[in-house]
């Protein structure tokens, strides 16, 4: 018989929260919308293969298109948005739905709640994003036979790793935002579409963004216009990994600490 005067151990508690959160996340309208957004490149790849391949100039190879999809579509736009929509809602949805009280009255440590919910976010977003990337890669790169497919495989593996890291980093940051603020969506959008543009400036400023580190990790360098092409910096790989890992740990630790010490008073 469990000692009911003590909270449930961390791992079983986190697993229980994970299961509950995963069920709510996967089967939601938000996930349906995200699945459509994340799966759009698959549709584009099929259309390219069926129709566009004959019309696009030969200098634009399928590998170039795949690189552009990874950098411009996934890394810069859709994945950060997915992280924003999911991660800010981890706690904020419970507060807004007035269900947080029921969660907090359980003999479960608050850190375990955050851990379980974040793990559910990671599982959901990776399940939606990574298969789409893999399918897009194969549909595009086999459009001219298997020539060159082997040579592009290291890039696929690298991209999968970087995209997973992007979901972790943005997710941790937006989890913290969701714990700190009552309405984190607007500040989150401002961060993504205003602050992150600093990555295109010269000097040391890009190092205060997440996108500068993430795009330094991929090998694709699609042609860009304007200042992003001129000033775009490539940061050392080791530095990028250290900063991103540090950002994930710091943001998650801060979120867990704030959530565990904060008093939530539900509006009547």
């Amino acid at each position: 018989m469990r000692d009911t005067s003590r909270p449930v151990p961390f791992a079983p508690a986190a697993r229980a929260v994970f299961d509950l959160a995963l069920e709510g996340m996967v089967w939601s309208r938000r996930s349906l919308l995200m699945a459509v957004l994340l799966g759009l490149p698959i549709v584009f790849a099929i259309v390219y293969r069926a129709v566009l391949a004959a019309h696009i100039p030969p200098r634009v190879t399928p590998f170039d298109l795949y690189g552009a999809v990874v950098v411009f579509y996934y890394l810069r736009n859709v994945l950060p948005l997915a992280a924003l929509f999911y991660a800010t809602a981890l706690i904020a949805d419970e507060v807004e739905g007035k269900t947080l009280t029921y969660l907090l009255t359980r003999p479960v440590r608050r850190e375990a709640i955050i851990a379980g919910k974040f793990a559910a976010y990671v599982a959901t977003t990776l399940s939606l994003a990574l298969p789409a990337v893999v399918l897009t890669f194969f549909i595009l790169l086999t459009s001219q036979g298997r020539v060159g497919l082997g040579g592009a495989v290291p890039d696929l593996l690298r991209d999968l790793g970087v995209l997973a890291l992007a979901l972790l980093a943005y997710g941790a940051l937006f989890t913290l935002l969701g714990v700190l603020l009552k309405r984190p969506m607007i500040p989150g959008l401002l961060f993504l579409f205003v602050w992150e543009l600093i990555a295109n400036l010269p000097g040391y400023l890009p190092r205060f963004t997440l996108t500068a580190y993430l795009r330094s990790l991929v090998r694709h360098r699609p042609a860009e216009e304007g200042i992003s092409e001129i000033f775009g910096q490539i940061l050392p790989t080791a530095l990028c990994l250290e900063v991103l890992a540090g950002a994930v740990l710091v943001c998650l630790a801060a979120a867990a600490w704030i959530f565990s010490t904060r008093e939530y008073v539900m509006d009547q």
Binding site: L22, P58, F63, L130, V134, V153, P154, H220, E229, F231
Partner: protein, 337 residues
């Protein structure tokens, strides 16, 4: 198992199958042997290769740059090896060649150090016959089971050019010593380039899909001018030494070149960047005599990152046309007296 766990598991299965399929393609595809843009056959180049440059020939000849500057056989826009290829083998680079790689073994070896690797779709039998019958002064010999064609061999066999087919799609040309070294490595299944860690690192840093690229280490770059004339009364300005250079570029829709030089330390990198910026500023000061130089100066950007200097150049063809020396018109007007 809950439905949501089933969804996650299914996604994992899709990713897993994809990754396994990709690894299988990597294992069975000859391209797995490539290092960066260097094809598998290029790994047979001698281990003391100091610089390598390559062209995607299809993209190159389709580009406005080639149409403007590359067709002239004596022009500076013609890549190394095009003329030699035509003269020695009868190959039409514009039609028959997919990729050219030129590798040098160090400037101390001068012209004798370089070897050309040509990949394309050509009829090996027909081409061999063309070399044997139509090219003057050609003899052939067997080297490591491969037929080697020798051009202009003198009595001692020294300083002779050579060509050989490494396989049905790859031709190697160059000085006899370099060609024979490459044939020996290829026949023995060796990949000496892989033992040159510095060169491999430079090759792997080349931007994928570039129309042209070049990588070199310090021994080649030691022949760069290390001092340039300074302003009046200030003597000469020393250029900091550069450890390596990686150049990548595209030619459509404009000339876009990205050059990354690795200096010995961050201070040297900063000095080098300042020198380049100074040269760009000098060019823009000449705008009074030639306004196009100001546009050219604004097309260049220089940034530094620790020990690396990045120079970005994006030049529209209209600007290149205005800067190029004017050629005399064909059938120009005769002087009438």
């Amino acid at each position: 198992m809950t439905r949501s766990r089933l969804v996650v598991l299914s996604a994992l299965v899709v990713v897993g199958v994809g990754v396994v399929g990709a690894l299988g393609a990597l294992y069975f595809d000859p391209a797995r042997a490539a290092v960066g843009p260097l094809p598998a056959e290029g790994l047979a180049l001698p281990a003391d290769t100091r610089f390598v440059m390559g062209f995607d020939v299809h993209r190159f000849v389709a580009s406005p740059f080639y149409q403007r500057f590359g067709k002239d056989r004596q022009g500076q826009g013609r890549p190394p090896g095009f003329t030699e290829l035509e003269e020695k083998t009868g190959l039409d680079p514009e039609r028959d060649v997919d990729r050219i790689v030129f590798a040098g073994r160090g400037v101390e070896k001068g012209q004798e150090g370089g070897v050309l690797l040509v990949s394309g779709r050509f009829d090996r039998t027909k081409l061999s016959r063309a070399i044997e019958t139509e090219t003057r002064g050609v003899t052939s010999k067997n080297h490591e089971g491969t037929t080697e064609y020798l051009f202009r061999e003198d009595a001692g066999g020294a300083k002779a050019g050579a060509a050989a087919f490494l396989d049905d799609d790859t031709l190697v040309l160059g000085p006899r010593e370099s060609v024979e070294a490459t044939i020996t490595n290829h026949a023995g299944g060796k990949a000496p380039v892989r033992s040159n860690a510095a060169l491999v690192a430079l090759l792997e840093s080349v931007k994928p899909g570039s129309t042209f690229w070049a990588v070199g280490d310090q021994s080649v770059l030691s022949r760069l001018p290390l001092s340039i004339p300074g302003a009046a009364g200030q003597g000469s300005v020393s250029l900091p030494p550069v450890k390596s250079v990686v150049v990548t570029g595209d030619l459509d829709p404009m000339l876009a070149v990205e050059l990354t030089g690795e200096a010995v330390d961050s201070k040297s990198a900063q000095s080098l960047a300042d020198v380049v910026r100074g040269l760009v500023a000098l060019a823009s000061l000449q705008a009074n005599q030639k306004p196009e130089l100001k546009e050219l100066a604004s097309a260049v950007s220089v940034t530094t990152d620790a020990t690396r200097v990045h120079v970005n150049l994006r030049v529209p063809y209209e600007l290149l046309d205005s800067l190029a020396p004017k050629r005399p018109a064909a059938g120009g007007t005769a002087e009438v007296r």
